[in-house]
Symmetry: C2
Subunit: 446 residues, 2 copies
Amino acid sequence: MLGETGGEKLPKFDVLVIGAGVFGISSAYYIKKNSPEKRVLLVDRLGDAGQANTGRSNAMFRNTFSSVDNQMLANASIDYYLHVQDEMGIDVGVDRVGYLWLMTDAQLAAARTHLAKMESNGVEIRIYDRGELERMIPGFVAGPSSEEARIMSLGEVASGVFGAKCGRLAPDRLAGHYRDQFRALGGDVMFNTEAKQLVVSARETTGIDGEPFVWQDWHVTGARMADGTEISADTVVVAAGVWNNELLDPVGIDGHCKAKKRQLFTISVAGKPSLERLLRSGGFNGSGVLPMVILPKSGVMVKAVKESGEFWIGCEDEVNRPYVTYPEHDLDSYGPEPSYYEQNVYPILREYFPQFEGARPSRMWAGLYGYNTVDNMPYVFAESGLVVVGGDSGSGVMKGDSLGRIVDAVYRGGEEADAVLYDGTPFRASKLGFRSRDVEREDWLL
Amino acid sequence: MLGETGGEKLPKFDVLVIGAGVFGISSAYYIKKNSPEKRVLLVDRLGDAGQANTGRSNAMFRNTFSSVDNQMLANASIDYYLHVQDEMGIDVGVDRVGYLWLMTDAQLAAARTHLAKMESNGVEIRIYDRGELERMIPGFVAGPSSEEARIMSLGEVASGVFGAKCGRLAPDRLAGHYRDQFRALGGDVMFNTEAKQLVVSARETTGIDGEPFVWQDWHVTGARMADGTEISADTVVVAAGVWNNELLDPVGIDGHCKAKKRQLFTISVAGKPSLERLLRSGGFNGSGVLPMVILPKSGVMVKAVKESGEFWIGCEDEVNRPYVTYPEHDLDSYGPEPSYYEQNVYPILREYFPQFEGARPSRMWAGLYGYNTVDNMPYVFAESGLVVVGGDSGSGVMKGDSLGRIVDAVYRGGEEADAVLYDGTPFRASKLGFRSRDVEREDWLL
């Protein structure tokens, strides 16, 4: 075990991984697993794995993406998570409750191309009609007709698109699984250790102050921690999520990510039989709960959490919500806004589900999505001693296993390497790089 | 003419263009030219067009790009600039001195694919061998052999790749040309007018405080100036260059650009016959001056300026130079660094051109390149009342005419419109957008 960093002279590592969110922790695990002789150190500024935005996420997974690349990345990761829970017997909270997109006729027509592509790639999709939805979901109003509904232009739900290989998981337990596996292989972990700055060195030093000069070959040789300790490594994996820019921009490497605040509001069903009935809407899945429902307006999302007897309510948040390039470290700086629920989410929610009338959140929190807005796809690239991963635009948890494998493939073989995903699918790493990026843009966002 | 904005109630414009750099000013001109009935207002925080990074640039143009899209954009723009100078008789400082890349054998081999593509697209290329270069460029040392050269790994120049349709221009005069043309058509211009913030409005207002809500359609309806005045417009063109993020990020639209400081150092030839002879190296062009020379190490550039009797020295600056997302407004915050010349540029320069021995800059300045690092290509996109242009990674001046035409095409017909470049080439605007971006990455950078 490693102790505190302050003042201590640390040995040189083969690999330093910065960030123990789902990307960092799975990357550390696969690197160590496939190169057991290497000394791999994972650092994170928080006290455990998955405690920042990974742990604040809506904790859902899906394979229903428009991008065939995303389908592959998610599908294989979900298979691995199912394997961990069902075959390894480690409870990572996976529950395949399904996703249910409620759509107007126009929305379904617009989605047809995406759906056909999903089906041709084996993504399990079922379409419910309005009558079925009304029978299966107690209290659901498919065609809200109030004056408020008219002002908000709420459409009439004609269909429900159901993704079967979708559901819930527990991101903190998933991160904990990778942490335990990584440690069991002999991987080193230092929590409460904040990497502040990448260290850039000339490959052949001249001893002249001001190195590296433009005429020198340079590479990243480690990172400086907040307490001043420098940790040296042959390869540094930057997996700091929305904080990638903070580490990379100062050395002239684009962090390719902007953050946006997303909020969740919980509504308890306690003492409200109509909400209780809604939560236990049967027939969609083996768990006997309402699937993750996405309303046809503004991406308002309703997630049923059976064990705590509550709904988590979220919203796609594209209007006038700033992008942040260098987010605060203290995520509590991005607090939830009660008025956001009151004025934006609730008015839509209660029109389709009147049983929420008067419901007020018992808890609320916010986190940051890290967007790569060029194509809404994650990136992995190698440069000068670095491997960088990030930018998954809010769906990192559901692709974490695949991304960890791709980072490992790049570590071992560079961007031209082929990673092999859990389900055996080969995935050319360079598709996610920027030198010859070749991923299909994602347009089925939440 | 429009007066000061402070306190005044301005009429609503059809188009507000923010930024009078080369993209903004050519956009304003082509929009007004093709929609003469529209009221078009151009604002800039400085006192004239082209006074920020456009005016601080190295003031060069080339059509020698690896990306076929860049070849098209630059080639047509250069044709227009030649037309302005030669046929309209307006001196915009165009001088086709050519670009001369000095390359080692390995560099030429690596460039072969790019060169073949250029030649197949009609880009005029000539390759000089070492002997020709040594004869044509007085004092040139093709194979530096000093201890310093060895430490810096300076390669032996085997060839010179000469681009004939490349050269110098005067960006401020070019911007002034578009400004005059725009005004002559009745376009409105307000200089010393700083747009601080985009104004976002609900399309159908409810009168409730906090609009727009997520369930409302919204669009950008103008911008607020630094003095508080709000200028309303049906369409706002954001052409603020490296400051695009500052305007766009707050409303949740990615500005897709990061800035890097670039520096220029001038060396006077006065009283130095060997430098004077170098400046007048004959045989490459009709002007009897050394072409823009790019050395085989670190992109050190040597530009001959005959009329002022000086060289401008620049350098490709990729090592440890930070990206800036929200640059200061005062560009003097990014001052030139004498040590950058001394320790980085000069050591390379004097090995290939010993006549620079002991030469010290008489003037120096810095500006910011605005990079879109995904593919090093410019972007144009439309969104919710906006048309946005930028991110040309240091080569905006040489593509300014084409980009202005594309912005106008998007203004009139949306991203699916076909622009027609000066030379008649059609260019589908959506190629430069992000919804279905389809441009060839640029890899021939300076």
